[in-house]
Every structure is written in C-alpha cells, then in structure tokens.
Amino acid sequence: MQSLTNLERMMKAISRQEPDTIPTFEIDIDERIMEAIKPGLSYEDFCEYMDLDAVCYHETRTDQYEVVDEAKKLVRDQWGAIKQYTGVSLSIPVTREVAIKSKKDLDTYTIPDPDRPGRFKRQEEAVKRFKGKKAIIATVRPFATIKDSLRGQDDLFKDMIRDPDMVDRLSQIVSDYYLRYTKNLIDVGVDIVMETADWAFTHGPMVAPKHTARFIIPGLKEIAQYCHSRGIPCLKHTDGNLWAIFDLIVETGVDGVHPIDPLAGMDLGEAKAKYGDKVCLMGNVDCGNLLSWGSKEEVREAVKDCIRKAGKGGGYICMSSNSIHGAVNPENYVEMVRAIREYGKYPLSLS
C-alpha cells in the first residue's frame, strides 16, 4: 500500500479501515521523558522526531491560570477552583479547593467564557504547522470539570443520590460551555475531539450504569453529535474497567475508545470481538508496570500481542494504556514505537 500521511493513517484507523500501518500517538507525554529521549525539543518537535501520527492538546495544558500564591504554586482555574502544581505533574495542577461548595455558590456562579481571545493559541499554532499532515487532537472534559473543578468528587457522587437537581444544573453549565468550546476547537481547525474524563476505576464504573446514563452520558453524546455534524470524529478516553458501561459509551456514537486499560482487567481481544465493528480501539500497552519496569523484549512482545488481538481489519491505534508518564522508561517508550512500526504494517505478518 502507498504510504499514507500521519493524518490519513489516523483517520483510516478511526473509521475502522486498514491504513498502511497501525498508527500511534499519546494523549500525554511527560516532559522528562521527551527530554531523556531527545533533549531540547518542544512537544511538537518531539512528535515529529518520533513520527507520531497525532499531536494532542490537553485542555488543562492549554488553559490559563491566575496565580494565587506563587510560593505555594497555587493557581485559580477558569472555573474558580484553586489548584496547585506538584511533583505529580509538572504542567497540570491538581485541585485543592473546588468552586461550588453549596447551592448558594451555584446560584451566583458565572460561567467562564469559551470564546476568550487567545484561548486557542496552541491549537492555532498546531494547525499552522501540522494541518493536513498530522492529526490534531484537542481534548474536552465536561464530567471531569464538574468532578475536579466545580463540585469535587465526593460531593458530586453524593449529590447524584441526595440532590440530583444539583447535578443536573452543574451538567447544564458544563454542557453549554463545552458545546461552544468544541465549536471553537473545530473552527480553529482541530481534526479530532477527544473527551478525556475518567468514568471508571480498576474495580468498575465510578457510578452505577443508571447514574452514568443519566448524569454523564448525555454530555458526551451531545459533543459526539456536534462533532459529527461538523464532519469530525470524537474519541472517548477513560481509564478503568469499562465492561459494565461499554455499551453506553458506544451508544453515544463516539468513534474510538481509549485506553482499554489492562491493569483494570480489560482484555483487548475481548473488546475487539465485542465492539471492534462499532468503534476504533486504542491503547492497551501497559504503562503501569511494563513500560516503567519491563524489559525491551517484554515491551515488543506486548506490542505484538496487542496487534495480534486488535490489528486485524484496522480499527486499532496502538499506544500506551494511559500516557507516557514520568516513570516510564524512555528506552521502553522508544522500543514500543519501534515495535509498532515494525509489526504494525498491513497486511499484518503476525498470526
């Protein structure tokens, strides 16, 4: 097959066709790992250096924060939450205090402006550099915004039982915001939108399927429908064991599901058999233990295993089971990409 551009390769895989070779990219790559592999490169330079098929722009990384306390590294996000930069991630701050502590806070709440000038600078630059070559992905996270910035996970989960109206009002706020935000992303020239809120953990879904269906699914469905109305694919990321809510996710109309988390007991072969005709599957190379502490040989074997399970017929993007975080062995990440390129060529040679 004639060699495709990175963008064409991604789009073929997402539409569940066989590209020339199985694509690869990461939803996040820690600066320390990029620096260890090739010092001095920007994120964009690094994606080119590694010949990754997509660049991915996290909303939390492209967001602007107001400094609250420089010494303590405290900032306020646009939703009003106080966050702190810690050693956990050098570029994404973690929540210390949410914005909506009571219904009264909600009554007087002012929604941030998704049209704020300069909001999409990095995505605009990516469009100038990569449009038509690499897939440009931007993330959105309506449910995570309620959970992490507006209400806090414990209160949000309890509200689902004790005050569903509160959750409905919060959902409406983020829904209004994210539809306008998504429109802006697509207007700027982004190729793919990815919703990245975690809905599950190792054990299973965070909330009951009935609560997932009522409070979480509508936001994703709305975004997926809007993306499709603009001719753009929409992908879904969530860690954890998804079996109990996989049908619900697929029914939203999303085009791909990431990362089929092996540490949560998600088997890629089973996902391919059950959902491979409906969505593109993405991920499954264990970044928890394998990419951190495994040998290069084990990494190659894991990539081969993933390709065997999900590569046939297309509809698979081979990548890590979450992201290339700070503990990943840089050599193992390089080996993973090398193995994907070696064994991922169609027609597949692996039995």
Partner: protein, 211 residues
C-alpha cells in the same frame, strides 16, 4: 428491644439522620458502643463491602453509606475512647508522596472504621519522613500505604526503608495497595501484606494483628 436490623439498613441505605437517630436510641437504652459496633455497623459494612465488590453498588452509594456510618461512629466515639480496647486496632493510612489519588484509600478507611478500627487518615502526598514521624510519635498496629501512580510506588519502598533506618520497622506492620501494586512488589520491598481491595484490607488487617 432494640432492632439492630433497622440500624444496619439505615447505614446500608446511606440514611444519615436515621442512622444517627437509631444510634442515639441504642445508647439511650444502655446498649454499649461495642455492641452497636458489632451488631449494627459491622454487619452493615460487611453488606456494603460485599455489594461494592460485587458491583451492585458504586461510589455514590458507598459514600452515602460512609456518611451514615460516620454519623453513628461519632456518637459512639466518646464511649469507645473511654474503653480504648473496644477498637479492633489502630491504623494509620496515607497516599504516598507525589500521589494525590485518594478514592481507594478513602474506601479502605470507610471499611476499616466500619469494622471497628481507629483510623488516622494522613491524607495524600505523604512523605516517607511524615509516615515515620507518625509511627514514632504514636502507637499504631498497622501503617497502610496507597499509590495509584506507577512512579510513586518507589515511595512505598522508601517509606519502609525509612522505618527500618529509624528503628521503627518492628513497631508497626505495613500494608500496601493501589491499582499498579502487586503481591510480588510487596514481597520485594518488604511490606507485611498487599491488599487487592478494601474488603481484603480489612481481613488482612485483622489477620496481621494476630501475627
């Protein structure tokens, strides 16, 4: 005659005010805190734990039940404190340095408290030195270390090493848990036990006390 089944149900259903009301009623009728714990909260937490493990209930139901349980425990606390021996044991727990995830840790705390443990939550992003300091200053039977991120797991080893260096390792049993943690990792770093989930954590904590 006090109806313990009613108290159990109020906790399982996450009915905070009803659980508190029934606990007060039980105390008023001279039922001891230990009896309320054993016949009310313990069976309730067993049911909640099993339902959670079995995928019948999820975090919202678990958190609501936790609130109901805490409302009851708060009322029992003065009497339990008077009779320290009523506690199953003392447990200090925290998420290791560099890691801010706390869902798993909080579920373990909930289950331990419901099973009669005196639990001190050290929070998230706790350094090896902070863990050591807590063990040095106070008597705990078990120290629980939680991690969700692969790259914070080495902090578990470092905490155990710090305990050794400070001569505190034999003072406390160490249990570890979290999504990327494995039994072999527990062996490798010299932890006393690895718990797969909160229900197992409670069972293991009990068995460690008897060792």
């Amino acid at each position: 005659m006090f109806d313990f089944a009613e108290l159990v149900n109020s906790v399982v259903e996450g009915d905070v005010s009803r659980a508190a009301e029934l606990t007060r009623k039980a105390l008023d009728t001279q039922i001891s805190a230990k009896e309320i714990l054993d016949n009310g909260l313990l069976p309730a937490m067993d049911r909640i734990g099993n339902s959670f493990e079995g995928g019948e209930i999820f975090l919202p139901e678990l958190l609501m039940a936790g609130d109901a349980m805490k409302a009851s425990i708060e009322l029992l606390r003065p009497e339990l404190a008077k009779k320290g021996a009523s506690y199953a044991g003392r447990y200090a727990i925290g998420t290791v340095q560099g890691d801010l995830h706390d869902i798993g840790k909080n579920i373990v705390i909930l289950m331990l408290e419901g099973n009669g443990w005196d639990v001190v939550d050290l929070g998230t992003d706790v350094s090896p030195e902070q863990f050591c300091d807590v063990i040095k200053k106070s008597d705990f039977d078990i120290l629980g270390l939680s991690a969700l991120l692969t790259f914070t797991m080495p902090m578990m080893a470092e905490t155990i090493n710090n305990l050794k260096e400070a001569g505190l390792r034999n003072k406390v049993k160490v249990m570890i848990g979290g999504a990327p943690v494995t039994p072999s990792f527990a062996d490798q770093i010299g932890a006393d036990a690895y718990a797969r989930d909160a229900v197992e954590a409670v069972a293991l904590a009990k068995s460690l006390l008897n060792k």
